[in-house]
């Protein structure tokens, strides 16, 4: 017991020694701390793009919300239904109802070109034709300014993200669809979900404008409960008059975001990995020079009977401390700079823009600190081993 205590107090006094000498080595120490902070900043920053994108896509759709597409379609863009089919779907068991009928909205999904506010170049903006149940089949849909469009009228409402990204999308503005100009009468929010990237109008109005007859591309539905999904799905897939693919909305959006998330995550990890290697070299440099500057002190301590294990641990602690400091600085900077930073990008699956906010999640911050810790451990290990294994006599002779 006493040996253990003794050992800890040895570690404590060597570590204290090291930490107190930091001001003398502030140049190289600062370089290490900032280097590690840079790794964590870039890592958390890049991955917060993927996390934000995924969050926007999955914020859409609670467990009792479903979407029906034609079988074989990987997005709404290539799906298609006639009026008869959407009626059959709306009448399926499991769909919740209110006074005006089943909570199912048959929808049309097209894209239109609108100039981005930032660059003035065209972007593919999703334009969706919806039915009256559309607001009840999605979560937290709220008109934040202006009003809902009138059914049957050539009017649109725009999502908050779309309003932020594209020119003239605000109450009082207008959208040109072909030769027609439709006024924007309202802006809506959908708790950051993907609907916020869209422009909405009455499905009938959109059908007419696009000569689509009485056809739709998808049906969004609210179910009685999350448990009703299986019943709903089975009744549709076993119906010989239909050939459909039934998904929970959350599954659907997760599928839609997969490609983009994978791209950003792959690149993010690759960049962070390379940067981490660079930072390890920086940390090694600092710790080696820290050891070199203290060769005599360490040798003296060991001559006095301090164990080499204690020397190793203490030096590793010092390097870990610097790494954690860097990690905290980097994580903090990333949070301040990137959290809720608004952007829009192309979602390849639907060939249209999704607006989202970067999300610096606690999970990412933890991962950032783990990277910093690893860098600190590797950066401290080799110099510590060298310090502990120098022959005492030779080191003392450097006096």
């Amino acid at each position: 017991m006493t040996t253990l205590l003794n050992w800890f107090s040895q570690i404590g006094s060597i570590a204290k020694f090291g930490i107190m000498s930091i001001p003398q080595r502030r140049g190289s120490v600062a370089a290490t701390v900032i280097g590690i902070a840079g790794v964590v900043l870039v890592f958390v920053g890049v991955l917060s793009i993927a996390a934000g994108f995924r969050r926007a896509m999955t914020a859409s759709g609670s467990a009792d919300a479903a979407i029906v597409l034609r079988s074989g379609s990987d997005s709404e863009m290539v799906s298609g239904f006639g009026r008869n089919e959407t009626r059959l779907i709306a009448d399926a068991p499991g769909i919740a109802r209110n006074a005006s009928g089943p909570l199912a909205s048959a929808e049309l999904f097209v894209i239109i070109n609108l100039p981005k506010r930032s660059t003035g170049t065209d972007a593919n903006v999703p334009l969706r034709g919806v039915e009256s149940a559309a607001t009840s089949v999605r979560d937290n849909l709220k008109i934040t300014s202006g009003r809902m469009f009138e059914w049957g009228k050539n009017e649109v409402i725009v999502g908050a993200g779309a309003a932020r990204e594209y020119a003239d999308l605000e109450v009082g503005g207008s959208v040109k669809v072909g030769r027609a100009t439709w006024p924007v009468v309202g802006v809506f929010s959908a708790s950051g979900g993907v609907a916020e990237s869209e422009i909405w109008t009455d499905a009938k109005v959109l059908q007419a404008a696009y000569n689509r007859g009485d056809s739709f591309q998808s049906v969004y539905a609210r179910l009685n409960s999350a448990g009703a999904f299986q019943e709903f799905k089975d009744s549709l897939t076993s119906n010989p008059q239909l050939s459909v693919k039934v998904l929970r909305q959350s599954e659907h959006f997760a599928e839609q975001s997969e490609g983009m998330t994978r791209l950003i995550t792959t690149l993010g990890f690759l960049i962070a990995f390379l940067m981490a290697i660079g930072a390890v070299f920086g940390a090694l440099n600092t710790m080696y020079s820290a050891v070199a500057a203290r060769t005599r002190e360490i040798a003296t301590l060991r001559a006095l009977g301090f164990g080499s294990g204690a020397v190793v641990i203490a030096l590793m602690l010092e390097s870990l401390l610097l790494a954690l400091l860097g990690g905290a600085v980097g994580g903090g900077l990333a949070y301040v700079a990137f959290n809720n930073f608004h952007a829009a990008t192309m979602n390849w699956q639907s060939f249209s823009q999704v607006s989202f906010a970067f999300a610096v999640t606690p999970h990412l911050l933890v991962q950032g600190v783990v990277w910093a810790t690893l860098i600190g451990l590797i950066g401290g290990l080799f110099p510590a081993i060298r310090a502990a294994s120098l022959p005492i006599a030779a080191a003392l002779r450097e006096l």
Partner: protein, 383 residues
Amino acid sequence: MKFFHLIWGNLTRHKLRTSLTLLSILVAFVLFGFLCAIKQALVGGVELAGVDRLIVRHRVSLIQLLPEAYQARMERIPGVGSAAHQTWFGGIYQDPKNFFMQCPVVPQEFMAMFPEFILPPEQMKAWLATRTGAIVGRKTAERFHWKIGDKVPITSPIWLRKTWEFDIVGIFDGAKKGTDTTSLFFRYDYFDETRKSQNWGTGQVGWYTIRVKDPAQAADVARRVDEEFANSPAETKTEPEGAFAQGFANQIGNIAFIVAGILGAVFFTILLVTGSTMSQAVRERIGELGVLKAIGFTNGQVLSLVLAESCLLTMLGGVLGLALAWVMTSRGDPTGGMLPMFFFPVRDVLVGLGLSIALGLITGILPAQQAMRLRVADALRRM
């Protein structure tokens, strides 16, 4: 150069420190090369665009089709040399993850419009003779191990929702390094004939590419094309290929800005690491620098000695890093098909070399000035 030996000796005095610094510089330049390749993959289409080509698409959006009959009308517009069309097929080969573009085209018009796709004449002949024939770019052919003569099944969720079978009759290469050779092109006549059973789309195509006779007149020609189809059910939007590519890249996001941000963070860090190494090196050597000055080295010579040392260090790291980046990126797209034009352009290699010299000068200048200003007597006292 006669002092090279001295500079080299100074650098190799602390072998461990020098190599660690060298390695972190090296990593920074590998990252530089890598990010340049990513940027190239995402925005490189802009540079590769033909200056004499315009893209004509439906004004409302790219997903809407244009009549095939527009081609003849376009070719009559003054200033238009020729036109060729493509249509998005959106097919899936085995798994949606195996993404690559497929388009039905009219072979001769198409190959004349895009001379950057190089197809051996006998393969062109075979394509013209095979109705179900398709040509595929080298990268995709290699990715799926397709050979000439293979039958390739591709399922299209847009067109007939069925599996189409194509005979690979040719494999094309790119004329330039960045040319996208991931696409598959097949014959429009086969496509149009087969989709007749679908009830919609027949006689309609995705977008047109126009070659203008005089690139200086491109803007006028674009305006004339849009005027030609104004007030028709399918109005057009015509713009230079480069502007189209730029607009497309902007849709992905401000890539140049993100890349610059990351590189800024990386180089700032390297600046600190190298700077602290150099100032440490000079601090340790004050006495020797004093001796050099005492035996007649001028201030300028001492300054350049230190600067040369830091530049040698950063350039060595830079050249090695750029070379490694070159090797790593030449293996191609790290994401499996999502970045077809991923490569490290020579122009950026040169920028990297410039950066390595700049890094050496910036990190060396403070310690070098410190060395230059040393007074001999003070310096010698510190021996």
